[in-house]
Symmetry: C2
Subunit: 212 residues, 2 copies
């Protein structure tokens, strides 16, 4: 229910701006705006400027297409990372998720989407051309396909696999299996079957370090 009367135009503008965000309704927007009103001026200006500068100044890494403050993102610019490994992900959120595991020391390639005919997104709408160029340069030894195990993710994985198969590059895909903490009896059959087929030696499994 939208209110008929706002006591202030400024308030109305701020509420509408928040309410336009995904998952934020009018009541939450009102609550957030009233919270901002109680904050001191400086914190508020910082918030507003962070939003404005975000869109004005942010860059995308010219190698991996990840968000960056500079021409090169910290990962691509790091000489200590393994530049022969390339992890293909859908978006920057996936990069952050993988970085947080602390288990990956190679580079990334952010597609910026996945192939989804339903949404009208084809191979040319995402960063596949630049991926092929990297692989064609012969500096990459392994491409790790790390897209979500959905219909669209699998389609995109397969498309990339077919397209890159003429190059001498190893292609791997994230292991699919039972999530840690899941109850076996509630795991769906496909996942359970996959994790059975792709079982690993116990010795190998305990050698994996826990994410720090």
């Amino acid at each position: 229910m939208l209110p008929h009367h706002y006591p202030s135009k400024l308030l109305e503008q701020a509420i509408n701006a928040f309410a336009r965000l995904p998952g934020i309704g009018y009541k939450t927007a009102l609550r957030l705006v009233l919270y901002l009103l109680r904050q001191d001026k400086e914190t508020n200006e910082e918030f507003g400027n962070a939003i404005i500068r975000l869109r004005q100044e942010i860059k995308y890494c010219r190698i991996c297409h990840n968000i960056s403050d500079h021409d090169l993102c910290p990962v691509c610019a790091d000489p200590l990372r393994d530049h022969s490994q390339l992890c293909v992900v859908e978006n920057i959120r996936d990069v952050m998720a993988i970085e947080n595991t602390g288990q990956y020391k190679g580079l990334y390639h952010v597609l910026g989407g996945i192939i989804s005919p339903m949404d009208g997104i084809g191979p040319n709408d995402i960063n596949i051309q630049s991926l092929e160029k990297k692989v064609a340069n012969n500096t990459i030894q392994e491409v790790i396909l790390a897209l979500s195990p959905t219909l669209e993710g699998d389609t995109t994985n397969y498309y990339i696999f077919k397209r890159l198969s003429r190059y001498a590059v190893n292609m791997s895909i994230l292991a699919r299996g039972v999530s840690i903490g899941d109850e076996l009896e509630y795991t769906d059959e496909i996942t359970l079957a996959r994790s059975l087929i792709n079982r690993v030696s116990y010795e190998q499994s305990i050698s994996v370090r826990q994410p720090g």
Copy 2:
């Protein structure tokens, strides 16, 4: 879980700004910031500026303490409203809620809080002095106490009632009773007892217009 690595300082600032808001965790903040990145520049600047201007330019009505763009809020400045009726509320959200019913044509008085010894808020921390001044001026005929039916709300109601009782002013309080749409059997006993004691004539009850 906070991430160890952000690909960009700008991104980190924006995420932290959002994550500081109440009810918004790190994951939601990230989602919102990535959404903002996909918005066009102008919409983003509008958003940022709405937040900055909100705190810089907003005023409080010098009569009712409601939020306002000017010295007087639209309600207090409206000559068609009943200036002899005064509805005492806790905050601006309550003003908006009551305005949305379309049933009230008098003025408001925003306390800006309620008496709450637990939180260290006493009568002098909220706008009670200015309320007394208004009543002492003899222009008010009815004071409607419209605070939430909580321990703190009731305490504040009683305090105001005692403080204003030496003036010739009618004091009323919001009816407490069964919420419309509630099942009787699930209503708590105190509410049910109240609504039984304060029952109104059927004729009066059907004469109340539905909120538009």
